[in-house]
């Protein structure tokens, strides 16, 4: 489904990604973790072309992301993405947030788009809030709406960039529950997150990044059991301390 091959990226002389290689098969859930600034967000943004990269290749569902001939907007409409800060559109009601891209990008008609939006809103447990505006919802609720918004596009896979790290602790679980459910239904997912409980529960593999490199890429049991690198061991020790 997603194939990342020798991808490197730099800002000027600063190397953000160095020779990153990994694959995500259909139905797999991959968790990406690593210290701040290690390039996790950059890597995941390369997958749907939000960040350009200088060398290597990324193939998503048979389409090359780096190819200048690829119509990126078309590809992105099929890859769902959820952001750390939700990024709902504050000037639109929840319903409009859910339907605008369906109408303007997929060309669905208004009724169809609204019906689909409502269905997914119900799924994330927020049907009652359909006519509110994003600013009137809590962070956890906003993030669930953001997941619903991505699902409205019938994505072939989903990318998550630290979806819970801007949330108060009591809201983290309501978002993780939605993600777990999604994973159990067989959605292909690539998640940057430090929620190790989530990784233990549903991840197929865990990728550990440091200084722009993929240091570990292993099954979750191998990763949690005995990380191969010293860096990953330290990282895990720190994160599991609390």
């Amino acid at each position: 489904m997603i194939s990342i091959d020798n991808v490197s990226k730099h800002y000027g002389s600063f190397q953000v990604l160095t020779d990153c290689t990994t694959q995500v098969k259909k139905g797999e859930v991959i968790v990406v973790c690593g210290p701040s600034g290690s390039g996790k967000s950059t890597l995941i943004k390369c997958v749907n072309g939000l960040e350009p990269f200088q060398s290597g290749s990324i193939i998503v569902d048979g389409i090359s992301v780096g190819d200048p001939k690829t119509k990126l907007s078309k590809l992105r409409s099929r890859v769902g993405m959820v952001f750390q800060h939700f990024e709902l559109f504050p000037h639109m009601s929840i319903t409009d947030n859910l339907s605008i891209a369906q109408e303007k990008v997929l060309g669905r008609n208004r009724d169809e788009a609204r019906a689909k939006g409502l269905k997914l809103l119900e799924r994330v447990g927020l049907k009652a809030h359909a006519e509110k505006f994003p600013g009137q919802l809590s962070g956890g609720q906003q993030q669930r709406v953001a997941i619903a918004r991505a699902l409205c596009m019938d994505p072939i896979c989903m990318l998550f960039d630290e979806p819970t790290s801007a949330l108060d602790p009591e809201m983290i679980n309501e978002v993780l529950d939605v993600m777990v459910e999604l994973a159990q239904e067989g959605m292909t997912m690539m998640c940057v997150t430090h929620e190790m409980g989530f990784a233990r529960k549903v991840a197929n593999r865990v990728i550990f990044m440091d200084k722009g490199q993929i240091v570990e890429d292993d099954s979750k049991d191998a990763f949690f059991g005995a990380p191969r690198s010293e860096r990953a061991r330290q990282f895990l020790a720190k994160i599991l301390q609390h």
Binding site: S73, K74, M81, F83, H85, H91, F133, G135
Partner: protein, 246 residues
Amino acid sequence: MNYQWNWGIFLSPAASGDSTYLGWMLSGLQTTVLLSLSAWLIALALGSLMGVLRTVPNKWLSGLASAYVEIFRNIPLLVQLFIWYFVLPELLPASLGDAFKQKLDPVTQQFVSAMVCLGFFTSARVCEQVRSGINSLPRGQKNAGLALGFTLPQTYRHVLLPMAFRLVVPPLTSEFLNIFKNSAVCSTIGLLELAAQGRQLVDYTAQPYESFIAVTLLYVLINVVVMTLMRHLENKTRVPGYLGGK
């Protein structure tokens, strides 16, 4: 000082034409309002376009837009006005320039020059407001739009601009007020707008205080009306749960 106040002057018939001096004032007011509104349309359209260009990833386009802003911001309005009115018709290809100077009556010439001048002058300021509105949005908004499959123009159209415009209503209000005030500069090329009518009235009646007080009050009135309207607009475009909305 013994000044003879005479407020009745406004109702006495004007020295020329068949109206009263009050009629002069009102026609000046009308010109000021028409001129400012039409210039404002130019400023909004051009300024928004340039403001968007200043934020696009293409270096050439954003460079072009920033040169545009620098030119219109660093030359005094009066000089720009004289250049539009006196210089440009000379520099146009002869046929066009002559058409402007001979086919159009002088009042239209003055009005068109003044409108275009004020429009361009203000557009540079509108551009800066629109740009800072767009830049003040969280970076992730653009990515969120793109990630949903919007093209860059669609992202601007549906995601960035609607929000940016709401943010810039207050600063644009002050630019909108400025355009009315700046329109008074256009009296210098002979356009008979409000300030010019005021001066003309002084020349004809020798009652300077009444005239200037009336003109000043009319400008204050314009100010109050515009502010009320814009406050209305601001309330209407307020986003619930955001920026002091409820």
